[in-house]
Symmetry: C2
Subunit: 138 residues, 2 copies
Amino acid sequence: MLSSTSDYALRAILVLAQAEPGRPLRADEIARATGSPANYLAKTLNALAKAGLVTSARGPLGGFTLAVDADQLTLARIVDCFDDPRPNTRCLLGARACDARHPCRAHDRWTAVQATRRAALANTTVADLLEPALVAAD
Amino acid sequence: MLSSTSDYALRAILVLAQAEPGRPLRADEIARATGSPANYLAKTLNALAKAGLVTSARGPLGGFTLAVDADQLTLARIVDCFDDPRPNTRCLLGARACDARHPCRAHDRWTAVQATRRAALANTTVADLLEPALVAAD
DNA sequence: CGAAAACCCGATTCTCATATCCAGATGAGA
DNA sequence: TCTCATCTGGATATGAGAATCGGGTTTTCG
């Protein structure tokens, strides 16, 4: 479903979203809470910080904080940090390039399948996952 | 979007679905038509044959034939041969197991996201991709 | 200013999907 | 039955993501 890096990132973001607002969480705390390998998660958190999704602070009292409101943070934004958002652009039928201007027979239908799958991530926010009772299904 | 193995398999199935019904296509013909590495595709086709999606025949006049009607063959059936259909069962929030009986807060919503993504593959058939004009969007 | 806490980051190793190669097994046709 | 075309499948190489390690840098506090 997700690459393991994206999975770690999503779990980490969920932990941060549930944390007390003022206090940063250390990388090793997040690793323990999510069951992720600590050394690897540190890099993943660093990537999230570079992408602007979390804020990092060094030194004692340092750690990570969510940098985007949970109701503005879609799962697609998290996943895109790690899994290439560009789908395979090669035409499904044959080797030539396939786009909206020169669509192959399967182009529209296949594009729709991909869009549906992406929308499932783009239409769901971190807040949606944490407040299921308040949100209707799409 | 798809693992490259699943991608090869989907393209191969589409080639077979467009082929003249009686005549099998050789692995190397399919590889050339899809732009897949021939040696690797041979294994992929073999896996599809074991799964019953295609029929293989050895010797002269041998090759591969579609074993399932194109309008009965969903993309999910193809992808499931290569990408583990079981999503990560670990609870998104914390380490414990998470299922319908003991759902975590995010369980229903996350399950819905996964179901939407799977449905995009389960509701689309090979025939849908090849006869776009005849099929309404879901 | 010094020490400890915590992130930063390059280098390395591990693992598995991907890819290649080649020796069998099988079947069609002569 | 012989030969050749074709799939079958084991052994092995490659490469990218996953995971680990160690040293460096920044920050708080005494």
